[in-house]
């Protein structure tokens, strides 16, 4: 009796094992006949995306508008937003130090702490220096991430899979530019109007600028470029004919913390 039931168990287990092995193979075989993704012919491509910011063309108002449109369209929470008490009752008080930001204005000596100079020309003290993810060629955040939730695309964009991120914040310790933010809480109550073109995040994951990869894929320029009134240009750093390369050829530019060897892809005309 004992022996028989053991044998029948093994038989069932064997069939189950075959089934488990066969399922992926069948899925694979069937994948050829399913719908095929066609590349969008209008998508913008680059070998290595880069950004040139002409700070002289920026005013405080334009800088503010850039942050605004970027954050609104990427569903970045605004902790000053009046929360709908009926929809989200009993929320904890906001800690403004736990804010989330993708692109924002800094004073020169914060954006470039290694270039601090007591005799710096007066006008630089008042210019808004837009800081964001540098999409570094040698990105320390990509190196540090233990799950590849932060990774580098072939076109140079450093981007995140919000669903893989475990929230260890190693990338935030690794980033020399303070470009990353952590969702210390559920961001959704603090989003005035959710933009359906971009996912909202859950609590416990890191986020940052993605160079509007979702817009480049549709053939559109990043939001910051459109809102910048010509101060920000995005293009292919490796294409000598590109607009960014023309700007780099024409102007003296600086990058943030160049000495660290991370090779930022964001250049500043000063």
């Amino acid at each position: 009796m004992m022996k028989k039931s053991r044998r029948s168990f093994l038989k069932v287990a064997g069939i189950a094992a075959i089934g488990m092995g066969a399922a992926p193979a069948m899925n694979f075989a069937s994948s050829g006949s399913g719908p095929v993704k066609a590349p969008n012919p209008e998508a913008l491509h680059a070998h290595r995306w880069g950004m040139v910011i002409n700070t002289n063309k920026l005013t405080d108002d334009v800088a503010e508008a850039i942050s605004q449109v970027c954050h609104a369209s990427h569903n970045v929470p605004d902790f000053d937003h009046e929360v709908d008490e009926k929809k989200y009752p009993g929320l904890r008080p906001v800690n403004p130090k736990q804010e989330i930001k993708w692109i924002w204005a800094e004073e020169f000596h914060y954006a470039f702490p290694d270039k601090e100079d007591e005799f710096l020309a007066e006008r630089f003290h008042h210019l808004p220096f837009m800081v964001t993810c540098n999409h570094c060629k040698n990105a320390p955040c990509v190196q540090a991430c233990p799950t590849q939730a932060t990774f580098k695309r072939e076109d140079g964009i450093v981007i995140m899979d919000f669903h893989r991120c475990i929230g260890c914040r190693f990338c935030m310790a690794a980033c020399p530019y303070g470009s990353r933010s952590f969702n210390f809480r559920d961001p959704r109550p603090f989003i005035a109007e959710t933009d359906p073109d971009f996912p909202t995040r859950s609590k416990g994951v890191v986020e940052k600028c993605n160079l509007c990869a979702e817009r480049l894929a549709k053939g559109k320029q990043p939001h910051c470029v459109e809102a910048s009134e010509g101060a920000i240009v995005v293009g292919d750093l490796e294409d000598p004919e590109s607009e960014v390369r023309a700007l780099l050829a024409e102007h003296y530019t600086i990058r943030r913390k160049q000495a660290l060897g991370t090779e930022p892809s964001v250049y500043y005309i000063v």
């Binding site: 904890r92 800690n95 130090k97 736990q98 804010e99 989330i100 930001k101 800094e106 000596h109 914060y110 954006a111 702490p113 290694d114 601090e116 800081v131 320390p140 190196q143 540090a144 991430c145 233990p146 799950t147 590849q148 939730a149 893989r164 991120c165 475990i166 929230g167 260890c168 914040r169 190693f170 935030m172 310790a173 690794a174 980033c175 020399p176 530019y177 303070g178 933010s181 952590f182 969702n183 210390f184 809480r185 559920d186 859950s202 609590k203 416990g204 994951v205 890191v206 913390k257 660290l260 060897g261 991370t262």
Partner: protein, 385 residues
């Protein structure tokens, strides 16, 4: 062997119930964190690791410190350590369990933690940290258990245990080296970006671990019939002495390089810790206390009259242990994150809830430690009797 743990005195059970109560309270606090996120912590955009990772770093050191009894006994046949080797190994087990718990409570998405295994990433230092921490935990459980079981049955441990003991030695060095590498490989963090970090971590580990072991020996002497041996404790105190002096020396090397070179990206952090930076000086009293405690402790251990004083020794050890904790837990985190990469100053202090959850992790560690030490001391009493 585990049946030993369910037979104990009234005091034993009171202690166990107390620990369980703390774990329960902290568990409720953690459920709240799990539901609402790390918003309950004092961490911020600029200071993204806090009390949890600070204690994690420190306890990796206490765990690695266990090797300071394993090396003399197994490599140099130092017989005096025969009685306490198991205590060092079981201390490592309890500490590593706390380390892993501290990492889990620090995660924003703890339910996804197995992603580290699902998407193994060899260019991330956390990948190696996971391997060495779990490896060292496994080795210490197996070795400690097998050796104790053999002692109880009054036979030699199985032959395969010895190689595992030898393997555990590089693992002990490894856990703290890799933990230092988590920090010191990051280009933008001037405070951590120093080759002395791993040696300094090891030095403070070999001070804090054995210092705590000495205190535990006192407790064991008071509450059980098992005597770890005064001579073993004295040898341990010499190890603590050398290690704490090495730790202070390594620190002074760091201070010299930072101060004499005067590179602002490195100096600003030390300045913040010891003198305050742009008017922010929360850490100043802590850091000076830390080095006064360790310095005084070193002096008390160098002078034989003080070192061999049975009443003073646990006090000295407590001073060094607390000093090392402030230095490596609080100072390592605050110093690394303040000022921020953009040279903004955002100070950090843990919230009460963060502290409660941390105490809960410690209670869990002490729970494991109590049970393991109960086994060890009872078996040793049995064998002697």
């Amino acid at each position: 062997m585990l049946e030993i743990a369910i037979k104990g005195s009234k005091n034993y059970w009171l202690w166990i119930v107390l620990l369980l109560a703390i774990m329960g309270a902290a568990g409720i606090a953690y459920i709240d964190q799990f539901m609402n996120g790390l918003v309950i912590s004092g961490m911020s955009r600029d200071v993204t690791w806090g009390f949890y990772i600070a204690n994690f770093t420190f306890l990796v050191g206490v765990a690695a410190g266990g090797v300071m009894v394993v090396i003399p006994y197994y490599l140099h046949d130092y017989e005096k350590f025969h009685r306490i080797t198991i205590l060092g190994e079981f201390l490592a087990v309890a500490c590593l369990i706390m380390c892993l718990l501290f990492i889990v409570v620090d995660l924003g998405q703890p339910t996804r933690m197995l992603n580290v295994l699902l998407y193994p990433t060899p260019h991330s230092m956390l990948f190696y940290d996971m391997i060495v921490l779990n490896g060292y935990l496994f080795l210490n459980i197996v070795v400690g258990w097998k050796v104790l079981e053999a002692e109880r049955n009054q036979v030699e441990p199985a032959a395969w245990v010895k190689p595992l003991v030898y393997l555990s030695i590089p693992f002990a060095i490894g856990i703290h080296t890799v933990t230092a590498y988590l920090y010191c490989g990051l280009p933008g963090r001037g405070f951590w970006l120093t080759a002395i970090l791993a040696p300094r971590f090891l030095a403070s580990a070999f001070a804090a671990g054995p210092a705590f072991l000495i205190i535990l020996c006192y407790i064991i002497r008071k509450f059980t019939k098992f005597d770890p041996g005064w001579e073993a404790m004295q040898t341990l105190s010499k190890i603590v002495c050398y290690a704490v002096i090495a730790n202070i020396f390594f620190f002074l090397c760091e201070v010299f390089v930072v101060a004499y070179s005067g590179i602002p990206g490195h100096a600003s952090h030390l300045k913040y810790l010891f003198f305050g930076y742009h008017g922010y000086d929360m850490m100043v009293p802590w850091m000076w206390s830390s080095f006064i405690l360790m310095g005084l402790g070193a002096i008390f251990l160098v002078i034989p009259k003080f070192r061999n004083n049975y009443t003073l020794l646990p006090v000295t050890c407590a001073m060094i242990f607390i000093g090392a904790w402030i230095d490596k837990a609080l100072g390592m985190i605050a110093g690394g994150f303040v000022p921020s990469p953009l040279h903004h100053v955002t100070e950090y202090a843990p919230t009460n809830q963060e502290i409660l959850i941390s105490i809960g992790v410690y209670a869990t560690g002490f729970f494991v430690l109590t049970i393991l030490y109960k086994l060890a001391t009872t078996v040793k009493e049995e064998v002697r009797g």
